[in-house]
Symmetry: C2
Subunit: 470 residues, 2 copies
């Protein structure tokens, strides 16, 4: 059986201001309605004999993974929560252990959550070829046939043919300089190292045992001590932190004698920057890609992305990336977008939060968005998912007014519990113990007006919480 393993480890500041630490690239709908993660699980789900996907992600993103899976109606094969980041080799080891517990003959298809694949047919054919090689004990990497001399990727030199469209890997090579990259492309026997792999789970663990035993031991110990929690597996922090941090490339693929490559040309991109998103996006006759409400005059070769309720007008510009969000707008020359890192570094240095969160913040129970702030008040739009509840809580410095604008909210306020319908409001005095719950089947939307001298998120005492945060 084929078990897709989705690696969702990227922290993703390269698409700032759209990507934030708590909502990295893989969870963004960059083109169309679905996020890259959702597209990845859907792609995996359509493969022959594919089992429900196993996702490996950081604890911080667990509810986003759960929600995005649910939104596309795909059953989860497990969501493994990494307590700390240890790169890909240990993450895949956890997934292999998880899958082998149910299927001792499991084959793993390892896919990063944040890659784009335009040609699904070509990809499926490559997976079939790789699966046949894996049956013979090969550890297969997918090599992308290069379109141009990219210097930002590693390359794979193929050796003898193995049939099935595969080749023995002769050599992995580091990111080349431009002249070398041009030679690689011209020679036709090099492929980009995509970070996608296919092999038998057992085989991978055997290779780890041989080439990186400390990783295997740490993963085994961490998985054995992990705790199931809803759809999640909470991996033991101390045991997993003991693992060396290493990529599958260094730890296994470059050391094994059984590395194979299946070259594929499938419209692949890792969308490593705004310019690479521009280059894979459909564009108009002037080379522009617009998202949202854009009025453009004499604009060329640009990516312009407006956000909700706001328009962007451009005049006489070219080769720009313009990305607007609720709290930050980026205007960059398209060939300088890698320097978005410099902006993020300045935000970090200044102790700001625009690289960490969007103005709308996702929580296990739904989301909140700070739509208005004044000297002694804050207005939030709050959405509570069906069946969800905020913690039972109180605040030392603020009172709250709640006005339900959609759905039916169950309100607890000290010793009273009552329903609040659309267009009804209530008042939560300072110090009151309160809770908001949605027992219905539609989202509850409400407007919260906070009033007080101090309105920070840290003014909260959680008395009970279904999400284990109290």
């Amino acid at each position: 059986m084929l078990h897709p393993v989705i690696l969702s480890g990227g922290s993703g500041t390269r698409l700032w201001p759209l990507s934030r630490q708590n909502q990295p690239k893989q969870f963004l709908a960059l083109m169309g309605d679905h996020s890259l993660y959702q597209e990845t699980v859907q792609r995996a789900n359509q493969l022959p004999a594919a089992q429900p996907p196993v996702t490996v992600c950081s604890e911080e993103h667990r509810f986003m993974v759960g929600e995005q899976l649910q939104a596309v109606g795909i059953a989860s094969g497990g969501i493994l929560l990494e307590p700390v980041a240890r790169s890909t080799a240990p993450a895949i080891a956890l997934a292999a252990l998880h899958v082998l517990a149910r299927d001792p003959e499991a084959t793993l298809l390892v896919m990063p959550a944040d890659h784009l694949i335009a040609d699904e047919t070509a990809f499926r054919e490559a997976v079939s070829a790789a699966a046949r090689l894996a049956e013979d004990g090969w550890l297969v990497t997918f090599g992308i046939t290069p379109d141009y001399a990219e210097t930002g990727y590693g390359y794979i030199l193929r050796g003898e043919g193995l049939g099935e469209g595969g080749y023995r890997v002769q050599r992995f090579v580091e990111k080349p300089d431009l002249a070398t990259a041009e030679r690689y492309v011209a020679e036709g026997v090099y492929a980009w190292n995509s970070g996608m792999f296919l092999f038998r789970a057992r085989r991978y663990l055997d290779e780890l045992a041989q080439h990186a035993p400390a990783i295997l031991q740490a993963a085994q110990a961490a998985y054995a001590s992990s705790k199931a929690d809803l759809d999640f597996m909470r991996i033991d922090r101390d045991a997993f932190a003991a693992s060396p941090s290493d990529s599958i490339d260094y730890a296994v693929m470059e050391k094994t004698s059984r590395a194979a490559v299946v070259p594929v040309s499938c419209g692949w991109s890792d969308i490593g920057s705004w310019s690479s998103l521009w280059s894979v996006a459909e564009r108009d006759g002037d080379g522009n890609r617009y998202e949202g409400d854009v009025i453009a005059v004499d604009t060329r070769d640009s990516l312009v992305r407006a956000s909700d309720r706001r328009m962007i007008a451009t005049i006489g510009v070219e080769d720009l990336v313009i990305v607007d969000t609720a709290d930050a707008t980026l205007v960059a020359r398209k060939d300088r977008v890698q320097d978005v890192k410099a902006v993020v570094d300045r935000l970090k240095a200044a102790g700001r939060t625009e690289h960490l969160f969007h103005r709308r913040v996702y929580r296990p129970w739904g989301s909140y968005d700070s739509i208005g702030v004044g000297s002694r008040f804050q207005v939030k739009k709050i959405v509570v998912k069906p069946g969800a509840a905020l913690s039972l809580q109180k605040h030392a410095h603020r009172a709250e007014h709640w006005i339900v604008v959609s759905g039916v909210a169950e309100v607890t306020c000290d010793d009273k519990v009552f329903d609040l319908h659309e267009n009804e409001s209530t008042y939560i005095p300072l110090g009151s113990v309160h809770r908001l719950r949605n027992r219905g089947t539609e989202p509850v939307e409400l407007i919260e007006v906070q009033s007080g001298h101090y309105l920070g998120e840290d003014d909260i005492v959680r008395l009970e919480d279904v999400y284990g945060r109290s």
Copy 2:
């Protein structure tokens, strides 16, 4: 006595998205805390023997004028409300009539409300010189000594010297082509036509009587039928609409035998575009002017203006104008900013409102800002000025929740009248007759959550209104 006359007629889309039809350039704080209008009245107020300024503006802007005057503590010499635009000659005729009623020997200093003057001392000296010429019966125009060969202005060729630093006007010339403009600058006897004038009020009306009698008659009839209303003079619509529309240049200055020019070099700019604002603004060593929260990486020769609660990041760009507002962002090449008109035309053609209003809308009683909108609700932040009241009104399609976050509101709801203090809320059911009033000395800030199927501004029946809108 010197009576400053401030012409505030510009509709100002050239600084869109910051300028809007209901808040044109002269009312914007483009640099520093005060608007161009406020700077103009302050400049006028500091002149020797200056009387309170007379403002001529459109009805639409009357409360903005009143409020901005009050904010800088300058007494008004009258605010004349033009019911329709008829260009400068009729507007100045109204001001002359208004001033002569109090001061038969009045001298007028006519100043557009939206010009910048950096060197106030040079300007004051020019005004003194012009005042002495006006005593001898000259109609004086201020000619700006050109810095460069501008093709967007008319020029004035000076003739014989009149003493006092003034010259007889030999000829007014239309906007020249570049070669001609260059010649004008080289010859040293041409000045830019600034649109600022100084003359005896009686003299101006005499010249009108001779050269444009229809304008004088219409102005006299309109002023005679005007109605005083608070600080405002409501000019009679039909009578004023009968006036030909003509500029003072065409109607008087080019025809009189007594036109004089006082050349002056006073750091003048009409700020006719974002690029001209950039050119007069103080800039950093890389040629940039930043306003608000801007993080710039390798940015040069650009104007970047962030709005409240939002940051702008720039990377590797040059010669750009970036202006952000609550509902629209402009990104334009600096030498293409005149094409902002094309954007405004598209907004008009699409029946949109981003060229008419800001998201925050000023009203006689204060302002409102639509901070959140959903399918069946809208959240507004409302500010009611001390002593002000909204109309007594009702809505057919929406209910409203009000939460006071600052100040004390007097609420009328059907037959009840009560005070609502900070952190108190009330509910206005659909169909209820209601009013909001601020009887205190501090602004009332409140959050209004509207709920209903239809939330347009036109769902209002005004039963009583202190501002005459019912």
